[in-house]
Structures are given as structure tokens and as C-alpha cells.
Symmetry: C2
Subunit: 222 residues, 2 copies
DNA sequence: GTTTCACTTCGATGGCGACCGAAGCGTGAC
DNA sequence: GTCACGCTTCGGTCGCCATCGAAGTGAAAC
């Protein structure tokens, strides 16, 4: 059974405007409640509920009960990655303009659980230029790199024990170049928040760096 | 204008079964006529025509008149890549089984214009292991690599002059690992055909290696 | 206990779009 | 010229599915 992967089915699932808005909202990486997602999708709660049932049925989205709320999140980083790529393609298709959108969004935003936008792309560039990341796929941590991450407060050993790929280039839809995803990308963003170098704009994917945060990141990296 | 990329619109375009079949057929990289695509999509010519109008309107597909035929092809290697990724996600979603499909298809097939399937993934692995391809992204040609490709009859200088990325990892939907795309991936497949190491199964994406071809490729690479 | 809130299920409605066959248009063959 | 062919345009039908409001369920607050 299932001789062929159901490309049309999956794409159709993403292809409804309301569902696409839901998925885009979930790209923030945070789990959201059904009501929040209904707001986001601009449909009635009952309609959103039907959409969410389809998405969870297809294992694109996961649900977790918590008291009388139900929290939804993307099931998987792979899904976030494909969504990001599709968005990128959509952005460049209709006209060749890369799409203005919100400048703050293009500068730094969350891509599921790691840093995207100009800041994210530049970070990966720098890490490679400083030979913190090397190797075939540009995503192996060099011996010197290990020390670098330790200085940042990231325990590489612990990270590499997780099932998730440590380090994964993720195509950035606004920059059309890669930024750093995977467990390491997620850990870095976590540290950036923990160190108060940046904060999240509430209810959005935008990441706002403080002046000191921007400098601190710059100095740590170079 | 166009504050946001139209994710839903693009996905909906792919999300119709007939259009998905058309796009899948075009993943073979060859240009096909409207009638052939109607057959492939299993709809009436008039219906196929409407679909093709939408796809060309969205610049996903390109059309070229030739006498009284009209040939359609994917507009862009980027599009092929996203389709491949979506297919991969679709394959692993419904159940975790990677999907049997045609074994020959999983062994070696065309992905737009380069080699995919077990054979394609193994080729990229070997090239990296032999340090023909090195560097950050695992996709820079090493100095020794240059000689290797010359031996294969590939003119790297000419290739690198093209607008297209020379070397690009492309996620394989059946193997869930990367194979080699980009201008170099395309050139290699071209040589494989030219040297008669393999031939294309007519009207399919399947690539059939001859026993000698299999060996010749192996010997050249190692 | 009752009330309130979060969410889902149900039933009904409406609209969009995929589909087909027939007719039209342009190109090449004869 | 006429015919055959490839494809598109047009008109009309049909079915699916997104949508809603109302009622139902279940959990927490009081």
C-alpha cells in the first residue's frame, strides 16, 4: 500500500489559506492554543478546530492537553524546514522581488526554534569563516569550535546525545541563503535569549536584539 | 505590495491531484507536451490545459511552442528541489514506512536533471569520502577533484561560469539523505548517459545502469 | 454544587474549482 | 486548397470542503 507518497494530499493540506496561516503562526516554534490559532487564521473556533483535526491527523501538527487548553505545535523540525522552503519559493515566484514584508522580520526572526533572517544567515557565515564550523557539509564542529560553544554556555556533548541532527543548514526564505538550524541552532538561540542579548517581540516571530546583545554576539563570535 | 509570500496559493497549486501528477511527471526533467501531460494526469486535454495555464501563470512551469506542439517543463531547478523535499515529507508522514514504490525508482532515478536514489546518494558520499568534494558545505571541489572531473570529461571552468550553483546538496525523498544537484550534478548525469553507463527507462524517471556502467562508475570514483 | 471557559461535534449552507464535451483556432501535412 | 492534429476556450455540471452558529462535552474556578 501507499505505492507513492501523497504529494497532492500534503500540499493541499498546506494549501488552504486558513491552514497556511495556522502553520505560519506555528513556525514561531511556540505552542499555541486552539483559540489563538483561530484568531490567527481569522476563522471561527469551530472552523479552526476542524483544520487542526486535519493537521494533527496528518501528523503535521501535534496536540498536547493542558487543563482546559489544548496546545498545538509543529510535529517536527523537518516540517518547519519544508514550510520555510515553500515560503521562500512562494516569495520569489510571483515577481522576482524578494518581498518587503516587515523589515524587522527580515532582520531577525525565529524559524521554529532557531535564528533566521539577516542575523541568522550572518551568524552561520561567521561561524564558518572563523572555522568554528567546518567539514564537508559546513556543519561539523571543529575542535576549536568545541571550546567556543563551551564559552557560550552550550554543552555540545549533551546536545549530540539527542536524536536530533546537531547542525543543519536551513534555507532562509528572506535571504535565500542558509542559516543554522538543528539542535545546535536551537541551543544558540536559547542562549541568546537566556543571556538577554535579544528578546522576542510578543505574538510574532520577530527577534529584537539589544544594542549590547548585538555587540556581545559580535564579540563572542569574532 | 505583497507583504507576505503567498504560501497557501503555491501549496494549493501543488495540492490538486492532477496538477501534482503533472509536476511529478515533469520532475523527470524532460519537457513534455500538453497531451502527454493530460495522459499522465489522467484528465481530459481541456482540463490539463487549464491546469497548465495556472502553472505557467504562476511561473512554476515554462512553455515553449514548437510547431504545433507545446512543450512544458519545470521553470527552475529550485522548484524541482522544493517538490522533491515535499515529496519526501509526504512519504514519511502518513506512516513511518518510507514507502515501497518501485524498487528500481528508489535505486536510481532522475531528479530534474541529476542522479537521485541510492545510487545518487552513494555517489555523493563517495565523492566526499575521497575528498573530491570538500569544504564547509561539503560541496567545494578540491584541487585534486578538478583532475578527477577532467578525467570524467567534465569541464569545471565552463560549468562554474554558468549562473547556476555549481554544486548543491539536494534532499533525496526515498533515502532521506542528500544527493548531488546543481550544475555539477547535472553534468555528471549527462556524462553517465553519454558514456552509456546507464540509460533512461522510457517515459519514467528510472535510470538503469548496465553492469559495466555500474563498475565503470565505481572504478572512476575510487 | 453552579458557573464559566476552552474546545469540539453537528447540521446546514454556499461557493469555488475541477471536470468534461463541443466548438474554435492555429499549424503542419497532403 | 483540404484535412488532420494539437491545443485552448467556452459553457455548464457536479461535488467537495471551508465556513458558520448552535448545541454538547469536559475541565477548572468559585
Amino acid at each position: 500500500m501507499r505505492g507513492e507518497p501523497d504529494l497532492a494530499g500534503l500540499a493541499a493540506l498546506i494549501g488552504d489559506p486558513a491552514r497556511a496561516r495556522i502553520l505560519t503562526a506555528l513556525m514561531s516554534g511556540t505552542a499555541l492554543t486552539a483559540t489563538e490559532l483561530a484568531l490567527e487564521a481569522r476563522v471561527a473556533p469551530s472552523t479552526a478546530s476542524a483544520h487542526l483535526a486535519k493537521l494533527t491527523g496528518a501528523r503535521i501538527v501535534e496536540m498536547e492537553k493542558q487543563g482546559r487548553h489544548r496546545y498545538f505545535r509543529l510535529a517536527d523540525a523537518d516540517i518547519a524546514e519544508v514550510l520555510e522552503e515553500l515560503t521562500g519559493l512562494a516569495a520569489q515566484l510571483p515577481r522576482k522581488r524578494p518581498g518587503p514584508a516587515d523589515p524587522a522580520l527580515r532582520h531577525a526572526r525565529v524559524c521554529y526554534d532557531h535564528l533566521a533572517g539577516e542575523r541568522g544567515v550572518r551568524l552561520l557565515d561567521t561561524l564558518r569563516a572563523r572555522n568554528v564550523l567546518t567539514g564537508r557539509d559546513g556543519c561539523s564542529v571543529s575542535p576549536g569550535g568545541e571550546a567556543f560553544f563551551a564559552r557560550l554556555g552550550i554543552d555540545l556533548d549533551a546536545l549530540s546525545k539527542s536524536r536530533r541532527t546537531l547542525c543543519r543548514p536551513c534555507l532562509d526564505w528572506s535571504e535565500r541563503r542558509h542559516h543554522l538550524g538543528g539542535a545546535l541552532g536551537a541551543a544558540i538561540l536559547e542562549r541568546i535569549f537566556a543571556l538577554r542579548w535579544a528578546r522576542r517581540e510578543p505574538d510574532s516571530r520577530i527577534v529584537v536584539f539589544s544594542r549590547e546583545g548585538e555587540r556581545a554576539l559580535y564579540e563572542t563570535v569574532t
